[in-house]
Amino acid sequence: MAELLLSPPLLLMLGSVVLAAAPRNVLPRTVLRALLLALPVYSLWRFWGLDFGDYAQFELFGQTLTLVRIDPLSRIFVVIFHLAALIGSVYSFYVKDNFQPLVGVFYAGSALGVVLAGDLWTLFLFWEVAAVSSALLVWVRRSGRAAGAGLRYLGMQMVSGVLLLAGIVLLRHEVGAAPGWAEFRNLTGFLENGGLGFSNLAATLIFLAFGLKAAFPLLHSWLIDAYPESTPAGAVFLSAFTTKFAIYALARAFPGQSELIWIGALMTAFPIFFAVIENDLRRVLAYSMTNQLGFMVVGIGIGTELAINGAVAHAFADILFKGLLFMAMGAVLYRVGHVNGSDLGGLYKSMPITTGLCIVGAASISAFPLFSAFATKSLIMSAAVYKEYFWLWLVLLFASAGVFHHAGIKIPFFAFFHHDSGIRCKEAPRSMIVAMVLAAAASMAIGLFPLAEMWFGVANPFYALLPYPVDYDVYTTTHVITQSQLLFFSALAFATLMRTGLYPPELRSVNLDADWLYRRVGYRVWDGVATAFVALHRAGYAVAGRIAASALATAQRHLGPQGLLGRSWLTASMTLWVALLLAAYLVVFYWRLK
């Protein structure tokens, strides 16, 4: 029982529920916050003492479910999810209300449940809990827009849940027990055939369920729609978990699935166009997140040990640097009230520390040497080169230049530099700065570890966490020079476009994306159908009313007081009619007898 309750998912979820239920006079705010931070720290410390294997198994409806399965793939996600819960909580202490960190830690617990699940039922359970708890983090903004976005978000998450459930039920039907990952792989024939080819309906449904949460093209717009509508802290929590456990699930179930390569390539390329013309800087980050997820999806699709290592490492790094960028923009949102590129600028004067930390995040996501993505994305790029995917490599290279353009330059430039907007505000609150420093330090550490290994022979603790052994040199001369050339000339293109006035100005606007299909077309269709139904109902009601009225009039005519069948008859006429009837009977009888 203790093993069950103290497992990372339940410890974080139940812990945050208990803290939320504790009365304020018993638990002062500072004590509550200390306990809240202690939850992920204690949970990670406990987890660290466990070996690979299955833990916390329990019986439910005659099935043995495994709450915790630790292996090299789940371990690294468990570590980063704990760190993300910790950093997100610290960040969110800028508001007095503890609702956000409590929900955030609960949501982190559900995400841990997904990555530790030893069977697909357990996975599904936490998949749904994560959907609902994360929707709360959108709604916590308490604006009309957030209410709508949260509802659409929850709707899309539920679609993913239903697809997953349908897939698991089909799978259950075929294997006859709680389907675990091993059964899943045996059934889909992954190990034999090196990919399942989607001949199996169950596998296809599960693939789509995972893909929706990993923001596959056309299934991505819930992310772009909802995350930027959340609060500063809400977006930080949101950016960490859902998409990354989807990446974990894809890496677990579909490594080497060749479809993923081109799905991923598309994901790296198309969002950067949208990011260039998007005005809401947190929405730029949401596009940027789809782009980064694309690199991870490509890695899973390539499926070699190097590529899977790259995908997982990049997921780890992305949680930190994307979190850092969301934190920096959240700080601007908190101090200024909006993050519209069109109305910001010159904030480096007011928020120098946030500016510096944002630049660390920008350098990290852009994969500058010494920063994190350089030590993670390179694994995916090299895996593509080793497998000789030339066109894929060109797309990824273009996307890399594009990342630097929209996330590396655009975010810090339009928020903190550009022309002076005249806005003067205070520096970010202390809790925000502490959290940003933690994320920035971790991002730089990931980038510097390989260098420390190369120069001083210090073992790289980050690479040691990866699912497969790493035999890869990040800091080769070629690699450092070519990557720097790509980025610096991309920067030159930006500067040239700015100075020549060719760069499109930031405009207050909305750009249509895939969500247009349900927010506009879908809405119109739904509205049309509803209007048609109302008209049909009214017409039917009118026709039925007319028929009923005429029936009533006919009945009135025949059965009413004056009607033939309804009026009172004289006894004399009745006698006459009876006599006539008897006479007719007599005639017929006589005729028949003859």
Binding site: F390, A401, H419, D420, T478, L492, A493, M498, L502, V510
Partner: protein, 101 residues
């Protein structure tokens, strides 16, 4: 890029507020880029791909050209996308024009 509005808000003036300093940053960037381009002379690259006569990842100046042209075209293409995709900020808030059904 920078406006001449230093002092307008009563604050101190910053180095980047002066237009000629922004130009200095730009020229410094060009200088750095020339150095990175020159770096291609300093070492030997091994081409992994045969495509484009090995120029793609083995030849002189491929990454600089690709980075510059790629980013340049990205922005120009995105700018054209606005013609089709851009709507006013309250696009999704405005419901049916005809009012309630």
């Amino acid at each position: 890029m920078a406006h001449h509005d230093h002092g307008k808000h009563g604050g101190k003036s910053y180095w980047l507020d002066r237009k000629q300093n922004v130009a200095k940053v730009f020229y410094a960037l060009i200088a750095v880029d020339v150095l990175w381009l020159a770096a291609d002379f300093l070492y030997k690259k091994k081409a992994e791909f045969d495509a484009w006569g090995g120029w793609a990842d083995g030849g002189f100046g491929f990454y600089p050209v690709y980075g510059f042209v790629g980013a340049f075209l990205l922005v120009l293409a995105a700018k054209q996308m606005r013609r089709v995709l851009m709507r006013s900020e309250d696009y999704y808030e405005r419901r049916r024009d005809g009012g309630a059904s």
